[in-house]
Assembly symmetry: C2
Homo-oligomer: 716 residues x 2
Amino acid sequence: MILTKDGIKEIRQGLGQVALFDQTLATVQLEVDAEIEKGIDVPVPKDLAGGYTHEQHKTNFFTLQKAGVLFQITGDERYSVYIKDMLYAYLDLYPNLDRHPAERSYARGKLFWQCLNDANWLVYVSQAYDCIYEWLSEEDRQALNGGLFKPMADFLSIETPQFFNRIHNHSTWGNAAVGMIGLVIDDQELVDRALYGARSVSVKAGAVDNDGGSIISQDQEMGFLAQINHAFSPDGYYTEGPYYQRYAMYPFLIFAEGLSNKRPDLKILAYKDSVLIKGVYALLNQTNSAGEFFPINDSQKGMSLASRELVNAVSMAYHYGSQDPSLLSVIASQGRVPLNDAGFDAAKAIGEGLAMPFIKPSIELSDGANGYEGAIGILRGGDLTLVMKYAKHGMGHGHFDRLGFMLYDETGEVIQDYGSARWVNIEHKDGGGYLKENHSWAKETVAHNALVVNKDSHFDGKVKEADKTSGTPYYLAAGESVRIVSARETKAYDDVEMHRTMAMVDLEELEHPLVIDLLSVQAPAETRYDLPLYYVGEFMSSNQQLQTNNDLTPMGKESGYQHLWAEAQADLTGDLYSMTWFNKKRFYTLTSVIQSGDQMIMTRIGANDPNFNLRRDPGIIHRRTGGNTVFASLYEIHGSYDYSTERPLNLFTSIADLKVLHQSAEYVVVRFQLNSGEEYQLAFSLKDESESSQHAVKSAKGQCTWQGVYEFKKIK
Amino acid sequence: MILTKDGIKEIRQGLGQVALFDQTLATVQLEVDAEIEKGIDVPVPKDLAGGYTHEQHKTNFFTLQKAGVLFQITGDERYSVYIKDMLYAYLDLYPNLDRHPAERSYARGKLFWQCLNDANWLVYVSQAYDCIYEWLSEEDRQALNGGLFKPMADFLSIETPQFFNRIHNHSTWGNAAVGMIGLVIDDQELVDRALYGARSVSVKAGAVDNDGGSIISQDQEMGFLAQINHAFSPDGYYTEGPYYQRYAMYPFLIFAEGLSNKRPDLKILAYKDSVLIKGVYALLNQTNSAGEFFPINDSQKGMSLASRELVNAVSMAYHYGSQDPSLLSVIASQGRVPLNDAGFDAAKAIGEGLAMPFIKPSIELSDGANGYEGAIGILRGGDLTLVMKYAKHGMGHGHFDRLGFMLYDETGEVIQDYGSARWVNIEHKDGGGYLKENHSWAKETVAHNALVVNKDSHFDGKVKEADKTSGTPYYLAAGESVRIVSARETKAYDDVEMHRTMAMVDLEELEHPLVIDLLSVQAPAETRYDLPLYYVGEFMSSNQQLQTNNDLTPMGKESGYQHLWAEAQADLTGDLYSMTWFNKKRFYTLTSVIQSGDQMIMTRIGANDPNFNLRRDPGIIHRRTGGNTVFASLYEIHGSYDYSTERPLNLFTSIADLKVLHQSAEYVVVRFQLNSGEEYQLAFSLKDESESSQHAVKSAKGQCTWQGVYEFKKIK
């Protein structure tokens, strides 16, 4: 199914000649041999994620899949015997199992606390079973098919439609599991059920999952093809964000790989303009310079291109896609390949020196099945990466963070998103599942670098409302020295129109590109704005007088404010707020235009946190009361410091001044000056995206005229 | 002086054949060529550390020293001309300078805000001058000697005796500076002044430095030889700790190197049983596995073997010491060598494959000029490093941390010491000097993993009192599977005797050595104990019910408590406190025996911190009220977690129970049990350190008998 006969032949002939493949093979052989040495352990299911029985069954399915591959490649029957023995142990156990004793899942599994994990098991074990299927006797096959695999496939589908018949990443695993075992045992009915859903059964109306997500989709679409239709935008973006996309990609790709090999008539990899391959590129583009995914929506930080899912996905995209040599450099950096046709192909090409650098462009990835429901915009310049989110909400895993952004440099996070409040699989923390602070803090608007109006989250914190709409892409420029992303959000609050424009510009005077942030808001007078910024590092200094609070109380009762302490605040005076922080080895300076009455609050996460579930990260909130306004800021990355030389370089900002020259519903014009005297101006049209329109606006410095959406220029 | 004629000959002949030397030479050449390209810049002094004029003069002296070496090695007159031109620029400037305009130093310099930096300048520039001395004309020499160097030597010595005539690291620089220029210009009077002090001048009584340290020593000892006598213990330990030792070593060693070459009659490197070479070994032993120094006393964390001072010191210890091949592995890891005889010798030996691993032993380093004034004890086992401090106070840079400890593993800090509250050279932070929180927080006992009695710091926070005494070493065992350090402190508080015994034991059942911590205290009834522990990482779970505080107020008004928030506390129930945290990739569990009435307080640093000078690090305080008592704890390092596999291993502690079986002024006996059933017992004699004595004590489990100071054994 995954290893083809021709592929195996080629792999066997090539053994010892393809370094990356040989290394991976040797590593996997050591792992599997160690497991075989330990003996077979198929415990009665009892524990949640992180617990012994959970982890053992998980170990088993990974080991079985690897043992299957080793059997095919080496022909060593130790591996096939091990698989057969293990499968018989499951055959002894499985038919006697009721659903898992832990009752927290909306779709309890049998081996695991949720069907999702049972489906993981079947996706992996069906590959192992495929590898020894021809080697087994007909009696063995009948026993295992009838006693273990068909019942499991039925359990995951017709017996649990709330799990199988959804448009959701859980269902993708379910569909793939059922389809893959169908391919192995040549059961066309199971394959069809996987592709089109378990149409004989239905879910009761109003059912919701553990995250509060609605289970029944309006149009009753279901099955693997429907997942592909719905999960990915035409750009390969997945609405739940890259953390979940990474997880979901494995069943999408591995089942597609099986279908490619066994059902080439379906042309599954060409389906929807090759969106599965595009999905792999979309994932690669949603990483920082360390290869870690942007923590959009519910995401545990640190998940990266090193994950096993991506090891499989990138080689597959190389092999089944267009043999793009830039993917080879990604695969080389992963340091291992999947032990199959795709992995061998990629490893061989790397050995032949074909790898090219993978250059991440400034790019917009559309959201929505048709690509018309918002997007994320990614700007890249120098070693900086900026991502702004104006996509769909992301369903049950979505965060209320319209027009929020994150900024990275090569050292890591500069302006961070909190990510999810969760320690995946770590039993200490509520069994490894989502913590209640994920809802009360991590999803709320104030936990993001996004505008909070009147202390309430976007869409009043209601997923259903948020899911109905998306942000509106306005403009993306990917120039050589000027990159711009600009988008609107008009539904998050009644009567409030937000339009954020972020530019990353190269200036010959500065070491790194400068980031310009212009958040234009049209809203009724006396609107209370809070604009948080989660800088990463240690506060160095600011140009304002901070008033420290010697007694801390939570900043509010709800919408995330209940988790924030105000450590200090400043009633801002003058024209600018300037603040420098340090992290790892560099200095960073925020420069913001202030208005009379503005406040800056130094915040710290951690109030109302009885189980110490939240990181004590710092932030600042720019507080303003007013009507139509613009929040204009610059983010400058400068200088360095090394603890073993203790020598700081360029530790002060180069920004001398920043002014908003014009602000209206139609335009925003800002000008800034460097300490060395140079002045730059950015003029931006918020309503007219034609590249040929002529614009003329009055500004504090006289008339500004330009053509097209924007003009960025050196004034002197 | 530093480069000998024979050495230069050998270096020139060896060019192109000694990789590490050639690489360093190429790097240095690039640096210096870039500076020459920029042109000469000798500004009028104005700024504090971190500011422009400060950093420029600093750049100048480093560049001059390197240019001198390059001239000697390459013979290229571009370098000698550059040095000469720069020196003439200083000759134009210096005679017209008054003391530096910034007035914060007790000994203001001329080029810099403090004489210390002027002395740095002269130590480096005298080397450059030496390199071109023979090349210069007699007129040039006379002009520079009379107009620049002699006035500078006089300024740093007879005109500033409060700087020159002390026993202090500042004076070491002063002595070296004056002595080195004396060697270069062959001025015997200056060399004698350096060696024996500026005896013609005196300091006014009662003078103190910026840290409040007394300037006049009782016996009026002064000069370089006196610095050596006083600065180092016979083990090479430096009472201010390794951060300052690293800084001080450079002038000690570079002047000693000059004296070795030009005044071999003094046998300076053999002086005091070769204590300067021993000092280098002491520094190497005071590092964690990343080569970073223990932040004992005032220390900025992160300073390491990579520093330029150590690059010079280790090669020198190799060349002038016993050609110890284990030093070569340290030098290889530094990746560069000094461009002199020593560096060439070391690089050549590395090239010949002579390097051996540098194994850090469990060791005690005595403090005090004669080695009788306390010590630090360092235990090493597996990848763990533990250091306990029971040394002298450390004068103006000392912390009130008797019997405090730090624990590291290969990932870094496990139990941390705060270090100093300072950002060295970073102008944002009070000019880069010590922050006021260094005094109000970092030095106080509650900022350390050390026992606080009645909410007051050791010695009531008085440096003078603390300087009078030291901790008392009791026992150090460096066994293959059991390492123990044990020491007493009886003067920090009236009527309180503390005796801390820490063991690091290998157990076949555990992944890493286990640390046992037994803090025995003899004190009056109703003494209030606070025992802080600064764990590093994110709290996972505890076995106690934490009461969260929803309003935070500082924990006290003084002794460091004013900087602590109590985030939560638990009135402890049962027999044990158990708490697990996670950091980077591992889990850590503290298990402590509790008594009825004990409290555990979850603390956070950061109260009363108007300039955000303090890190928001977590800690816990074990609070107990009572008389004689033992605080008994275990620190276990276990398991792993990786963000790209999300798979936790061994995430729960293996410790099932811990009991104090006996506690008295003479003995402490503890027993602990693992979840797997095994029991271990540690019996320790607190008063009798004979290895042959027989001991028998009553315990909750019957009579315990053993021979010698301790017995650690498996009970079952």
